[in-house]
């Protein structure tokens, strides 16, 4: 593109940026004891305009223009580097707590990452594989966490006993919520799921007698090592983890051991759910999800019942969210309704979208970036959701199928049996 044209284009963009920046960047108000004062920040306006101008100019010259490929690409053999990346990530995950620089803080962080990975993989089934936009995923997450909390509180059952219950409860809620609305088309379904998410959150806040309301629930049951808790004393006179292994008990060491155990627990469960999803993808149900996403009308014309297919996607997605919710509860030792708002749903959606809908590894990478970004400083924390919102738009415009969206077929023809020569 000739320089003059690009410059004119950039100038126009800069002008728009100027108009947009003036009211909200150029001015702001502060409320002080003596009234509201107005602060001007024209320097920031100038910077914003300059950035937009330079950015737009650069964009015109960089060779990689928005090549939106409408045809999705299918890979014959998984690219070697993504395969190695997957194994590398797995090795890293297994070794993480024992690496030289590991600390309690880093293990805690990694556990958070794993929770989001599990959430991402669950939502991936619904959005990435089945193509159903669910904007209220946090609701199922909440059901899982609260099931653990309330089961512990009212029935006194332990973590591992409650875990399947958390998944099943979430799946039931998922099916119940999905049943009435499955016939809706994509965007309406999305808004309705958003509404459900909000309804669940409001109910959790207001049903104080049952859920504890905004104060949440404390003292969730924590994972035990085959029934042996990570604490100073075991209830009912059993052995604690430390006692069993003949370790000296100190609160600090115990906390670390528990942390590490939770980390490996969730790693194991996450890997199991990953295997489950990969296997499902190669079964009729998984192919039906993808067929539904590609073309619902053609799927119906082939005799596939869209209702059952959508229900199963919702149920599996909710199941995984329920498990993640249980781990979230154990991880924090505390649940409250505020952890399960639309922001949370949007975050998980961002992970799935950025990771390349349908790609397990992509979700892992996106979750790692999302969770660790705020750790690099307060500025990053503030910019995090801003960047994620902008990235979602950018990915849709540039690569609608996400960053790691190259799909491998779920089935191949076996070698044809060789005919014996007559």
């Amino acid at each position: 593109m000739p320089l003059r044209l690009a410059a004119k284009d950039a100038a126009l963009a800069a002008f728009v940026a100027l108009v947009l920046a003036i009211p909200l960047i150029g001015f702001t108000t502060h409320e002080t004891g003596s009234g509201t004062i107005v602060e001007t920040r024209f320097r920031w306006v100038a910077i914003a305009v300059a950035v937009v101008f330079a950015g737009r100019l650069a964009w015109a010259f960089v060779p990689w223009r928005a090549r939106r490929s409408s045809a999705p690409r299918l890979v014959q053999h998984r690219k070697l580097n993504t395969k190695y990346l997957g194994w590398l990530a797995l090795a890293g995950a297994i070794l993480w707590p024992f690496l030289p620089f590991a600390s309690n803080y880093l293990i805690f962080l990694a556990t958070t990452v794993l929770i989001y990975i599990m959430l991402g993989w669950g939502l991936n089934v619904v959005v990435g594989l089945a193509g159903l936009l669910n904007l209220g995923y946090a609701a199922f997450y909440a059901v899982g966490a609260y099931t653990l909390a309330l089961a512990g509180q009212y029935w006194g059952i332990g973590f591992w006993e409650a875990l399947p219950l958390c998944g099943v409860m979430a799946a039931i809620v998922g099916v119940l919520l999905a049943l009435p609305v499955l016939r809706l088309r994509g965007d309406y379904l999305a808004i309705v799921t958003l509404g459900f998410g909000e309804i669940i959150r409001i109910v959790l806040i207001n049903w104080q007698s049952f859920t504890g309301g905004p104060n949440g629930v404390n003292d969730l049951p924590l994972p035990t090592f085959f029934g042996m808790p990570f604490s100073a004393r075991a209830p009912g006179g059993g052995k604690t983890f430390a006692q069993f292994f003949g370790l000296h008990f100190s609160p600090l060491a115990n906390a670390t051991e528990r942390l590490i155990f939770i980390y490996y627990s969730i790693l194991a469960v996450a890997l199991l759910t990953n295997l489950l999803v990969l296997r499902l993808r190669r079964l009729p149900i998984g192919r039906a999800w993808e067929a539904l996403r590609e073309d619902e009308i053609a799927s119906r014309a082939l005799g596939i019942n869209p209702i059952n297919v959508k229900l199963s996607a919702f149920a599996i997605g909710a199941l995984l969210a329920g498990f993640a919710g249980a781990f979230f509860g154990a991880h924090q030792s505390f649940v409250s309704p505020e952890s399960f708002n639309f922001q949370e749903s949007a975050t998980v959606l961002a992970i799935v979208v950025l990771g390349g809908m349908g790609s397990q590894l992509g979700v892992v990478l996106a979750a790692i970036i999302l969770v660790t970004l705020p750790e690099f400083g307060r500025e990053f924390a503030q910019f995090r959701m801003l960047l994620f919102g902008a990235s979602m738009v950018a990915i849709m415009v540039w690569r609608p199928r996400g960053l790691l969206s190259l799909r491998t077929p779920s089935i191949r023809l076996p070698e044809a049996p060789r005919e014996a020569a007559p």
Partner: protein, 267 residues
């Protein structure tokens, strides 16, 4: 006709608000015939298909399908049930393949219901049951058979959207056949094909009729295809049937000529 018709359409009517798209249409499709529905654009042909395959609920009339002695009333069934239980498969005017999936996957998905049953609602499949593995192998064999029939064996693992146009049309037909239908409905299968490809299509449809005993109902504008292979032609104009019979008779029918070419007769 010695046997009962495969499909009996009685007084089919489809109204969209004030627009009468199909007006009291009645015709029959014999079990082993190739029946063509032709007519000028806007005559209501695809609407008839959509009623047959459950995408529209007819305003009035009945669609009776006779499959192995069982009579099914299509106008009361949901689209996917029509495909699964009545055995009515279709292709689309604008080709609806699963673009991002491979050619082979398209054919395997067509066999979803058989595989789903064999996997015992996925649970059997998860644990690698023998029944499921056998069913999957059978499905692959059927897919391979149809790939070879339509000449796409070499493209099994390519994304469906990367196939050339003619190949995509053939794939759609193969996919429909993988559902083991009783009635195959083709919506303009020859659209966009060159004469060589149209001849191949004729050959394919004739052999499908021969080897699989499937009734074929097609909407078509290409007269080489229509006249070449149809046993029975129905002509629609403005939603109404204006001719119904063997190709030779329909070709000479003055009402048909008038509908297509206007009042003046072409020499």
């Amino acid at each position: 006709m010695s046997e009962a018709p495969l499909l009996g359409v009685e007084q089919l009517t489809m109204r969209f608000g004030g627009l009468l798209a199909v007006d009291a249409l009645s015709f029959a499709v014999a079990a082993h015939d190739i029946t063509a529905i032709i007519g000028p654009n806007g005559a209501g042909k695809t609407t008839v298909f959509n009623c047959l395959t459950g995408f529209y609920r007819p305003s009035a009339g009945s669609l009776a399908l006779n499959r192995s002695g069982k009579l099914m009333r299509l106008e009361r069934m949901e689209g996917w049930r029509i495909a699964r239980d009545a055995g009515v498969a279709r292709t689309f005017q604008n080709i609806r393949l699963f673009a991002g999936m491979s050619v082979l996957e398209n054919l395997i998905i067509a066999q979803h219901n058989a595989l789903s049953r064999a996997s015992f609602y996925t649970i059997g499949g998860l644990f690698g049951s023998r029944a499921y593995r056998a069913a999957e192998a059978a499905a692959l064999e059927k897919a391979r058979y149809w790939l070879e029939r339509v000449g796409l064996a070499a493209s099994a693992d390519l994304a469906a959207s990367t196939l050339p146009y003619g190949a995509q049309r053939r794939l759609e037909i193969a996919r429909a056949m993988c559902t083991d239908p009783a009635l195959l409905c083709l919506d303009e299968p020859a659209a966009g094909l060159n004469p060589h490809e149209s001849a191949e299509l004729n050959h394919l449809l004739l052999s499908i009729r021969e080897r699989h005993g499937v009734g074929v109902l097609l909407i078509e504008h290409d007269m080489n295809v229509v006249m070449g292979i149809s046993d029975h032609i129905i002509v629609l104009d403005y939603g109404r049937k204006i001719a119904d019979g063997a190709p030779a008779a329909v070709r000479r029918d003055p009402a048909v000529i008038k509908a297509y070419l206007g009042e003046e007769e072409e020499a």
